[in-house]
Symmetry: C2
Subunit: 345 residues, 2 copies
């Protein structure tokens, strides 16, 4: 699976700063017998270094849990439990709340790269526009500095308020409250960082021009057209699924992706519409795993919406908002704006 | 991961018979609110059919748990727990004991294909040899019939006794007691079925000529040379690892593959020999996941030995027997016969 994979130039890793002081403090306080650490694929080498320092300092096993952890929906606390680690440090998924569960501690990881040069480019490119700044957890600390530069250059800058797990200006791949809230007030969105993935989500959820301020490539790139292609692909999948007679409804097994109730509801609605439905469960929903199954013309997966929008599958695999659009389509209703919602669930 | 993937001709599936009567009986008796079913990739289409029949008969959700289940070491009971299914039916991993855990029931799946024609070919090919019949769980019922044909043709046939989870004549990918027990008494091993994977394990664990009796291709093929290539590759990995200065020791997170104690022991032994060692944990150990990690010249994984022998990795990834051989090699001892053991742990 490559969907969430960042382009990580070698220089990037040097800029990642993990809040090790907090980790060390917690270990000193709790004296665990062993700990586990995990983080997004792109920063795993930094996580390894932190694990080595923990072992050297405290003489305890520090396991790097090297499975994927796509977000706070996918912390892999089960992996840590299996290891019997007393504390799990999940690194790089900053949210605005405390630890989600006993034994797991969310640790900040910031990317210390400077945006000054690329922000200056943005000033020239978007002159005098009203923009909203958004970013992922790694670049939250740079928002104020970029705001200063853009405002200094004559742009009007607005930062949407945090909601749920999100801080002000922060977006997830599936949740966009600080962006969608300002939709009527801005000309465009400006995403700080390298993630086309997050920026495309903003573009889709707001249907507004969206730009990526990439400090590594030192370029401002518009992501709007790329997002439109994702939307077209998603809508084609909905249309194709409307013709299917046999469906598979897939429940995701990752801890924060379990939506069994919605899965059973969509099963019933599809059956009421005369479709045959089988139930499946998967940890990682990939085309390769689905190829083992037979006789299914379209799938609905209620795990992570981005699995559907950002991957290729042999048959339609609809996310929750796509499945809701499908039900509307089958009732002859308009599906206009089905992705323009703050949370893709 | 393709290592355990069988070649599954379309005709194969038609021959797979799941013990549905037992499943239905248990559901009638226990009246679960929902159930889950899983099985090896190759028989998932049959498992789907059983799930559909359960839903029709009892009107309850029957989830097909479509993650891998490589064996009784990898039942994915956690997946079933996450779903909240009252009973999990794991299909196709026949062993000689009762359910491994409360809530999980092992259900037989037999491949009803006929071996008569291919057994007659074997009689001609191995004339008058003394052979041992071995097979995987799917073909246990055909052992007696093939024995009859081979003995009728003048061969001497021996069936090794079951041990641990294994029935008489049965082998796993990592456990070979019924084969190794007869090593000094037979000229060759004859494996019933299509699995080069299992047959190669027998060849490696016994160092004897090994043949596959493939009823689908209607051919007798010798697997000895293929097994020797796997062995050469495994030994080269050990030699290459001997030169490594930095090691990663990987604990497998699958329920029957957790060997944390051995992982910590091998870590200590490598450190005593002057190596740097980092600890990792992974559910699926693949080259792709390991590529996220930096600065490791060789890995030791204590999850499933076949991961190391049957896959390609950028750096050496040693299994438990290979790691033991490495430690011997580093002490200047002979590693002769390091795979010729009944259980690769």
């Amino acid at each position: 699976m490559t969907r969430f994979k960042l382009i990580v130039p070698d220089s990037y890793l040097g800029m990642i700063i993990i809040d090790e002081a907090r980790i060390f403090e917690i270990i000193k306080e709790k004296s665990p017998v062993s700990v586990s650490l995990n983080g997004p694929d792109g920063i795993l080498p930094r996580v390894q270094e932190t694990a080595v320092r923990i072992s050297e300092e405290f003489g305890i096993p520090a396991y790097v849990l090297a499975d994927t952890t796509w977000g706070t929906c996918d912390l892999n606390t089960n992996g840590s439990k299996v290891l019997g680690a007393d504390i799990q440090f999940n690194i790089g998924h900053t949210i605005n709340t405390e630890s989600p569960e006993n034994g797991v501690v969310l640790i900040d990881a910031f990317d210390d790269v400077e945006f000054d040069a690329v922000a200056a480019k943005c000033v020239k490119m978007l002159e005098k526009a009203t923009v909203s700044l958004v970013t992922d957890s790694q670049h939250l600390r740079q928002v104020d500095r970029v705001r200063e530069i853009l405002e200094g250059g004559g742009l009007v800058v607005k930062i949407g308020s945090g909601k749920g797990q999100l801080n002000d200006g922060q977006v997830f791949g599936c949740e966009f409250y600080p962006a969608t809230a300002l939709k009527e007030e801005v000309d465009a969105y400006v995403f700080l960082g390298q993630s086309n993935f997050h920026a495309a989500g903003v573009a889709l959820a707001t249907n507004r021009p969206t730009y990526v301020l990439d400090p590594y490539f030192n370029e401002v790139r518009e992501i709007t057209e790329f997002a439109q292609k994702l939307k077209k692909k998603a809508t084609l999948a909905v249309c194709k699924a409307a013709e299917a007679k046999s469906f598979g409804v897939i429940v995701g097994l990752k801890e924060g992706q379990l939506s069994k109730v919605f899965a059973l509801r969509i099963k019933k609605e599809l059956e009421d519409a005369g479709k045959k439905v089988q139930l499946f469960a998967l940890t990682d929903i990939t085309n390769e795993r689905l190829q083992n199954l037979r006789g299914i013309e379209a799938f609905v997966q209620v795990a992570c919406p981005r699995i559907s929008t950002d991957n290729r599958f042999d048959v339609p695999v609809l996310s929750t908002p796509q499945a809701k659009a499908l039900l509307k389509m089958m009732r002859g209703e308009s599906i206009e704006g089905y992705l323009e919602i703050p949370h893709w669930l």
